[in-house]
Symmetry: C2
Subunit: 327 residues, 2 copies
């Protein structure tokens, strides 16, 4: 009469995590901790569903755990927040206990690298696809939040790092392009897809240096530019010729396809941020080589409903490459 | 190229919620708010899966929304925490947009009653069952947390309110007992199942009056008693004859069946708490009629592995009614 199976699974999962630094962790009704003095709590949640966001024949459970955490950590990065305590919910088939243990190992890998911790969760049965939800709590100073509504007319728009790699990797898998998948260029593309690196350091730098507007490009540059324009009530121009495309994507898929994937494919987890022109050099220096920014557009004026214009060769284009739309 | 479908759904869902009281709500990469001075953050997450935790032919989407929030709020109640900000993830089929809007209305109903708010979320496609995950953040004073590991030898164990109602309602549905379902006694049983009332006020009272150990009986008295015994490293006796059974359950299903359902059925969302005998009368007065406590057992001694003995007619019983076990 002990619910032994549940206890054993909780023990097995807890053993894969670092112990909580303070307060209560896994094992009580809820986790509890004392927030930093003067900080605001920053909270985000993301759900990954088998067959929609991942396929278990393409992604190892360990990579999936990494990615589930990375997606939420990227939201914290886009707010300029420090990580982070995570609550992990998993719905799985009865036979998937080993799978969820490996998934926790992958989360633990990234948690250690980023100074985050898993402090609680819920593991339930599912009759259907594997579902992983991560709610991630971070902290930030209230006057240093990177918001979506902070872009102002005259601002430049810049991207950290390169874009298109993860979507290019997915494209190779979707087309089962074995010839390309065997090329060395495929390795970083698949790594970008399976083990994305949330831009926590870059977000922290942008926030500390006083920038006020960023968004992560998890759903592609196009869709995220629209979010930013809408929240900031501004008109934006994006010069698609200036997108910092991942070199390996261009090598395997060509420039045009890579550009479309960067615009609409997403999963790059880079930051798209607004910066006034005089501050660009300073910000660029502070971000360093790993997250070196590329200016890809600018805010052309106010626009209550938000508007994004995409330019190619200096002229507005009709874009058929739609941003990822959930419905 | 706007991702208009996603925007429209976010707007439709946001319209069903109260605006955030401060800070950022739905619409940015993450929600942010300033925690109360001197408080700890209390965080919990719960996932409900169609076909495992609910059936849409038995539960309306609005009730499901209420319940998804109630489950997590009950965890906060069991910690003595104040509600609360919620992050809601929903995985749904493409045709279920209206359903998720009604689900948000049900969450909003309970949020208003309890002083909670939905501050963020993720709505994604699913090829399979509807999945709802709520991560709920509350606050508590660090010296007033109700923990699972706070029971001490000599303590009495008491339950708020009555138990067995929700499991009795579910039993009627599972057996398709139409004759009983048409009786007036079925109404409160189904209400207990579909619109459970998290014991936030009772948890706050227990915490404020200095108690240190409680758990919510979401998975049945038996399973939760084991959790408590294990965390507190004590031996517990539960007198099953003293369980405060819901009168309507007894009327429709008899005492023996109702008792088994209360032990192993769960979903009552009452609090099982430890209290020293001299303080019982004071606590009972403070809880008031709505959550009047019933002593159902006691802590008999220390026991490193935890142990629960169930007594009937004063003698230990072999119990086959297992606490709900997820695996």
């Amino acid at each position: 009469m002990s619910g032994a199976g549940e206890f054993e699974l909780i023990d097995a999962l807890s053993a894969r995590l670092d112990p909580p630094d303070e307060g209560l962790g896994i094992g009580d009704d809820a986790a509890a901790w004392r927030p930093g003095a003067g900080s605001v709590v920053v909270a985000t949640t993301d759900m990954l569903v088998e067959g929609i966001h991942f396929r278990l024949d393409w992604t190892s459970p360990r990579d999936l755990g990494w990615k589930a955490l990375a997606v939420s950590l990227s939201d914290l990065a886009a707010m300029g927040a420090r990580p982070g305590r995570g609550l992990v919910s998993v719905a799985l088939l009865p036979g998937q206990t080993e799978l969820v243990e490996e998934l926790y190992e992958g989360m633990s890998d990234l948690a250690r690298l980023t100074g985050s911790r898993i402090v609680g969760g819920d593991t339930v049965r599912s009759p259907g696809p594997l579902v992983v939800n991560v709610a991630m709590l971070g902290e930030a100073y209230p006057d240093q939040l990177l918001r979506r509504d902070g872009a102002r007319p005259g601002d430049l728009l810049a991207l950290t790092g390169t874009v298109g790699a993860a979507a290019a990797g997915l494209d190779l898998l979707l087309r089962d392009d074995r010839k390309s998948l065997e090329r060395p260029e495929a390795v970083p593309l698949l790594a970008a897809l399976h083990r994305p690196q949330p831009r926590l350091a870059a977000g922290a730098v942008l926030a500390a240096l006083g920038l006020r507007c960023a968004i992560d490009v998890s759903d592609g540059v196009a869709s995220e530019a629209w979010h930013l324009a809408r929240a900031s009530r501004v008109a934006i121009e994006i010069d698609v010729d200036r997108l910092p495309l991942a070199a390996e994507a261009v090598a395997l898929l060509g420039r045009s396809k890579s550009r479309d994937l960067a615009l609409s494919g997403g999963e790059d987890y880079q930051l798209l941020f607004a910066v006034s022109e005089p501050r660009l050099a300073e910000i660029s220096d502070a971000l360093g080589d790993g997250a070196a920014p590329t200016v890809v557009g600018r805010v052309t004026g106010e626009c209550p409903g938000g508007r994004v214009t995409f330019l190619a060769s200096g002229r507005p284009i009709e874009t058929t490459a739609d941003g990822y739309v959930a419905f």
